[in-house]
Symmetry: C2
Subunit: 363 residues, 2 copies
């Protein structure tokens, strides 16, 4: 078992990472939250049938009376009406301020349950048990919780830290290969923004990772969480450094807004990272073209896209780029790689370089 | 103008208190939140017609584009569906993370708007403009925001601090006398728990206060906010000292649960404080019976009740007492006055003393 400690003062918490941790969930919660007598286990219709009973039994064995709620799998469950229904479940389960909400699933279950935990009785303990690679390496660190409004994603939410995160890499065995690969896009991102050695490790281990090798997955989840935790600890409220986590996401979010119905988040980020690397080269920020080559190669080996969907004109992305939520007064702050392991954040990117970068993505 | 500074580290904020401050609302917001370009002004159907336009004009004059939303007056507006509707108003008003939500009204408008501000885009600036005495001396300090569920009050919410509070004591002129008196119950509470001199001031000024004397009201609001701010600063998340603010509220909340349809919160607290004083005397915690006499006298002069409603049997309150939200593992922690200006919090109160205390309230 590998641990990462997310250092956030009074809100600090551990992430336990390993194979088979689900069976020890109750003991881990008990150690960290000794007052807990009751829990609401929230999961979804994909994950519940696979791991719901193991998780519930582990909690019960540790003396934690556990009610289980299953929401429909998919983004549509990240709604205020679903949150309302979970509040009712909290009341029915007689949760009080010492009880816990345990989120077993991917990002949707985590964001939704975290928001409910943040706001039920003005905040009760929250335990994350991420079962997708994306959730293990991304949403388990950072304290972002929330639900969608009809007008936009994550428009309602709170910054709220879990009391602990339990990432069992064995749960990744049942994850569809396409989702595993999409999660790997974020893993590659961590290497590019902060750790060239880690990028190299991923390049070497691609085969083992796609074959669910537990040791490789454990290392990848651990290093990703450590990098994200370092960045978040330095900037918990997203005022500065944390922007580097947005590498590949400027174009990635535009792609997601336009083609999210057919592409996963990680797939959009994969193309977005390639775009950023090309733009960085064209604008003289990247020291050379080596990162671009490495990025394309590792993403392709992972089975991720590195170009736009067939038939898409890069110009069509323009309006989506300008809608970027992270834009300040309409100015996009680009995360530009200088070399593997180092990026800068800058609003000063020549429009020509952006045009060239997007044009190069045309299939 | 009198200021109170609520010291909460990065979440510290000022409370401006004075007569006629509403006309300077825009300038005050501008000074404190110079980035603000847009605001959503939330008010209710009682307060809106009286002060909505003054507030909106003051904000607009300071260059803040202001949309106005009016919710129905009354507790029923503290609902998730009302919050949902306000989120939609936020989107329509094109609020971003630098925009502000301005709450103009009493506790309902403040709690509801604060919750929306705490959760829209994971938190945007929030300005409180309390227009009732209760809101000025109580809900404007403490960072409690929330809405009700069908199963109970304030079950959903967040701890979230305003960026500033603007308490214009002139708005109290249009407050029904009964509500002014009910707010005074909390003022009396502050004197009893922390400041005997202040209690004396209130005793001397009862006539002026009920006649809306601005200087007396300003002093009363300022001192109340200062006392609450001191207590909250020492215990922002309600883990210890803050319990003393619950003086009079154990029996008060029981009364409110049973008779809230006919009595205001402050009226229930008034009776609750008398009950606590009697129980403290019977259990040997109070040094003598002087506080009990003073309490009854000042509350009666304010026109507040000091006994149970006619025909009510004290035994009927038992079940409501045991439901006390602040109870830990079913044990009630009583806030017991030792003398004017000093209280202790203790679970060790003889059942007989409680019975006698409640029996003494029979009309």
């Amino acid at each position: 078992m590998a641990d990462v400690w997310v250092e956030l003062g009074e809100q600090s918490y551990p992430i336990y990472i390993g194979a088979g941790l689900l069976g020890r969930l109750g003991a881990l919660v008990r150690d960290r939250l000794p007052e807990t007598r009751r829990a609401l286990l929230v999961t979804d219709s994909n994950v519940g049938p696979l791991y719901g009973e193991t998780a519930r039994a582990a909690l019960e064995e540790a003396g934690i009376a556990t009610s289980r709620v299953t929401v429909a799998a998919g983004e549509a469950s990240k709604s205020l009406s679903q949150a309302f229904s979970l509040y009712t479940s909290c009341v029915r389960a007689e949760l009080d301020r010492t009880s816990a909400i345990v989120a077993l699933g991917g990002g949707v279950v985590g964001d939704l349950s975290g928001f409910v935990a943040a706001t039920y009785m003005r905040g009760i303990p929250y335990v994350q048990v991420p079962t997708t690679l994306l959730a293990q390496v991304d949403s388990a660190v950072g304290g972002k919780t929330g639900v969608d409004l009809p007008q936009g994603k994550n428009l309602v939410g709170a910054f709220y830290q879990p009391s602990l995160v339990v990432a069992d890499v064995e749960t990744l065995k049942t994850l569809p290969r396409r989702e595993l690969a999409a999660g790997m896009a974020e893993v590659v991102k961590y290497g590019v923004i902060r750790d060239e050695e880690f990028l190299k490790y991923v390049e070497v281990q691609v085969g083992n990772l796609l074959a669910h090798d537990p040791a490789a997955l454990e290392r990848v989840v651990q290093t990703s969480c450590r990098i994200k935790a370092d960045v978040v600890a330095a900037d918990p409220r997203e005022k500065g450094l944390r922007a580097i986590l947005n590498f590949g996401h400027t174009v990635g979010h535009a792609l997601e807004a336009a083609y999210g119905y057919m592409w996963l988040h990680g797939e959009c980020v994969a193309v977005g990272m390639v775009a950023a690397a090309i733009i960085a080269r064209h604008s003289g920020i990247a020291e050379d073209g080596r990162l671009e080559v490495r990025l394309k190669r590792v993403l392709e080996r992972l089975g991720l896209p590195t170009m736009l969907p067939e038939g898409v004109d890069p110009k069509d992305l323009g309006p989506y780029l300008r809608m970027d939520k992270k834009a300040k007064d309409g100015i996009i702050h680009w995360v530009m790689p200088v070399r593997a392991g180092e990026v800068i954040v800058t609003p000063k990117v020549a429009p020509d370089a952006i045009r060239w970068g997007l044009e190069a993505l045309r299939r």
